[in-house]
């Protein structure tokens, strides 16, 4: 862990995520206002003592909504990384370790999936399953499978002929045991980097989906939804757009930098 702090990217990313995690922790204990409570007499008020970051066009406290939005972003990011990661590693490890036909079939499927650009696959799945948090997670998790699969495939290919694997085979260890007990722990650092980048991707895609009105449904606050609401009153309250945008950018940037930093140190740059 200590060696990673030699990378500037890692340090900056770590700082940003620490900041966001602090916001998350505070939001779990205390929110300044009820995020969905409307004060119709107090619409689009500028930041002040009563509402630190002002209110939106329905008179709801922007800070509380943003904090709730951060909670949802973290929740989605974690779930997507866990589900997408588990599926991706499972698929990629078989492709990489066994090679041959298995590899060809799996990689062809992954390539076909990657033909669906950006959020298109997620949009298609949401159209079929309906929106809401769990379907958004499912759609984004499926979207993140290729990233994990490719990473673990190349990792398993690197180690499948290593001496320690041969030794285990001679000892009579089964394929699954070699794959997940012996090879997988060697890929922790690469996996951490991929997970971090996938987290950033999930937060960004969720914001995009919610912006289109397809992800998290109102009245639940989500950063993407806040952006589209803020865009409607950009002429009267330009600062409102900045708040969700900056939070999304800091979250995504933080995890991107963290992932890049881990990669940098691993590759010995």
């Amino acid at each position: 862990m200590k060696k990673y702090f030699s990378s500037i990217s890692f340090c900056i990313g770590f700082g940003m995520i620490a900041l966001m995690s602090a916001l998350l922790l505070v939001s779990l204990v205390h929110l300044p206002c009820e995020p969905n409570a409307m004060e119709l007499t107090n619409k689009l008020s500028v930041p002040g003592a009563a509402h630190w970051l002002g209110t939106d066009q329905f008179g709801r406290d922007i800070l509380s909504r943003a904090m709730k939005g951060v909670q949802i972003s973290f929740l989605i990011g974690v779930l997507v990384v866990v589900c997408g990661g588990a599926a991706g590693i499972a698929v990629g490890s078989f492709a990489g370790y066994y090679g041959g036909r298995v590899d060809e079939v799996i990689m062809k499927l992954i390539d076909a999936q990657m033909a669906f650009p950006g959020v298109l696959l997620a949009l298609m799945l949401i159209a079929v399953f309906g929106n809401g948090i769990s379907n958004t997670v499912l759609a984004l998790a499926i979207m993140s499978v290729p990233r994990f699969a490719r990473m673990s495939r190349s990792g398993f290919m690197k180690y499948r002929d290593a001496d320690f694997v041969k030794a285990e085979k001679v000892r009579g260890a089964g394929g699954l045991r070699i794959m997940f007990v012996h090879i997988l722990p060697n890929l922790t650092a690469e996996l951490a980097a991929t997970a971090s980048l996938a987290f950033a991707g999930a937060v960004m895609s969720e914001a995009g989906l919610s912006y289109l009105g397809m992800g998290i449904q109102p009245p639940d606050p989500s950063l993407g939804k806040m952006l589209s609401e803020a865009q409607d009153c950009i002429l009267r309250a330009a600062w409102y757009v900045l708040i969700p945008a900056v939070i999304i950018a800091v979250l995504v940037l933080g995890f991107n930098l963290l992932g890049d930093g881990i990669q940098e140190v691993n590759e010995g740059r």
């Binding site: 033909a115 397809m214 950018a249 991107n256």
Partner: protein, 313 residues
């Protein structure tokens, strides 16, 4: 020749898989699609009629093949929302999305390649740290966020460019460029950051090669070595990245078109989802995926022409 046959075979397999995925996803739709489209309290007669017109009473494989046959004949069914043939809607959307994608790609290349070469040539730590921060920031701000900022700056504050809407090329070429400038810039900022990185790494790697040392030792000037030898060789791998960026740019345009209210594919996608217009959505998804696959195939072909060594691998 073998190489091209193998590539073409791979292309067919990928296209078949893509069409199967697109078709399959819409089949796992829980419940009866006719109910979903018409709503729960629809007339049973209406539902039955719709089921028949959608071919829901036929077995799965027949439906798939008739869909594929329609695809080749340019008939993807009728959109419920617009009451127009899907293929007609897609064609009109493609002209907008296509112009947006071409303009974005041009911007990406015009920003990405010179900046990447420059950064590799002036490889001081000061610049590279500054640049990598800048590129990280432009990669981390989603394209639609960038779009909102650009609207705020150039349309609301400076009033230089229109904030939303689209003017077709046939109507007014200058107006068309103006209406696409902000949307394409908001996508290109992110994708050019990706390109700059690759160009920089590729040029830096080439500079370490033996032939560069030879070129210097026979007395060539730095600029000549760079542009005659290094840049030409290092742009070959960059072609692959351009193929990958096509998917990114099309994906980015789905959301960005909604920010700028452009009547393209992205706009059609969100309308088709919110109005549960499944034939339209299915057609749109398939078209976009096929475009991406074909672009990547074209990139592979170009690559093998530019660098024949690849055919031997």
């Amino acid at each position: 020749m073998m190489y091209y046959c193998r590539k073409a075979g791979g292309l067919l397999v990928t296209l078949a898989l893509v069409s199967l995925i697109t078709f399959g996803v819409f089949q796992i739709l829980p419940g009866n699609p006719a109910y979903i489209i018409l709503g729960v309290d629809a007339d049973p007669m209406q539902i039955e009629a719709l089921e028949q017109s959608m071919g829901l009473d036929k077995p799965l494989y027949q439906r798939y093949f008739s869909w594929i046959r329609g695809l080749f004949a340019g008939d993807l069914g009728t959109s419920f929302r617009y009451q127009q043939p899907v293929s007609q809607l897609i064609t009109s959307g493609l002209t907008v999305t296509g112009s947006l994608a071409v303009m974005t790609m041009l911007m990406t290349v015009l920003i990405g390649i010179p900046a990447g070469i420059w950064l590799a040539g002036h490889g001081g730590r000061k610049y590279s740290v500054g640049f990598s921060m800048l590129s990280q920031i432009s990669l981390s701000v989603p394209a639609f966020c960038m779009g909102i900022f650009l609207i705020n700056l150039f349309s609301v504050r400076l009033k230089w460019l229109p904030s939303i809407g689209y003017i077709s090329w046939a109507e007014d070429p200058a107006g068309c460029m103006r209406s696409l400038l902000l949307p394409s810039l908001s996508i290109a900022l992110g994708s050019s950051a990706v390109l700059i990185r690759y160009v920089k790494v590729s040029v830096t790697n080439q500079q370490k090669q033996d032939y560069v040392r030879t070129a210097y030792s026979k007395g060539l000037r730095k600029s000549k070595v760079m542009y005659r030898h290094v840049v030409r060789n290092s742009l070959i791998p960059v072609i692959t990245i351009l193929g990958m960026l096509t998917a990114d740019i099309l994906g980015g345009s789905i959301i960005t078109e909604n920010v700028f209210s452009l009547p393209g594919i992205g706009r059609l996608i969100s309308v088709s989802i919110s109005s549960r217009d499944l034939p339209l959505l299915q057609g749109l998804v398939l078209y976009l995926a096929v475009i991406v696959v074909l672009c990547n195939f074209a990139v592979d072909l170009v690559y093998s022409v530019v660098d024949p060594r690849i055919r031997l691998k």
